[in-house]
Symmetry: C2
Subunit: 145 residues, 2 copies
């Protein structure tokens, strides 16, 4: 039984971000990959949708310039033959400000012949924005309870 | 082959929110269920963690007082024997303001004997907050690119 494609991809992504070594990752991304990390692109230009290997490698290069990953823990995971979904917590440092950032995200990924063909990532973006700003955003209480 | 527990739970949750009929849902929730929707609880008191059936039914009652569901689309789904994960888009109306809200979320759920024992829901919370406020939150551009 071979290793699930998620694990190789995950190791290669970690190396690409922390060590800026993209060769391994490049071989694990389909030419025509669909990529999306949903979030406020005005504040974080490396969020949003990308299409194709070159665009995805470029966005990972931008992520690598902005954050360093300290650790990540998978809180939930589901694996299919060519698919994977996880809920994860990341501990990051924002490199410009040296601020620690703790981030929860969920991803849904599809692989084909061992290569990533599609990934969608959802982030608890309000929490991310407040941490990146370094202060809470004042909110009205809107809901009745 | 019996229907996956997710489908009955999903129908019952929809009825509980839109028709305020909780009987069906009550039968599909474990006594000791673990429940979490991550997000800013100061603005939305029905977000956050709950434990046990009574607390979960109460929070669903609060959600039903605050929103009406118009439609939902599953963009990604993974099903295991007793587990399920989806990425979904919801079209809601906020009942106090009559504002339309379009929401992306991911959930990871575990069932036991047909009942929900655990669910964690991640929401694109910054997008949610901006829609609930009815105006964009001004953000600095933080990242280098």
């Amino acid at each position: 039984m071979t290793e699930h494609s998620l694990w190789g991809f995950s190791r290669a992504l970690y190396r690409a971000i922390n060590e800026r070594q993209c060769e391994e990752l490049e071989a694990l991304i389909d030419d025509d990959v669909e990529w999306a990390i949903y979030g406020p692109i005005d504040m974080f230009p490396f969020l949003g949708a990308r299409r194709g290997r070159a665009a995805v490698l470029e966005v990972i290069r931008q992520i690598a310039e902005n954050v360093r990953v300290h650790r990540f823990d998978r809180e939930s995971i589901m694996l299919g033959a060519d698919s994977a979904a996880s809920m994860m917590r990341y501990s990051l440092t924002a490199l410009d400000s040296n601020k620690p950032i703790s981030l929860r995200l969920a991803h849904f990924a599809q692989f084909k012949a061992g290569r990533l063909v599609s990934i969608r990532v959802l982030v608890d973006t309000f929490d991310l924005v407040e941490q990146a700003l370094g202060h809470p955003i004042r909110l009205p209480k809107l809901a009745s309870s």
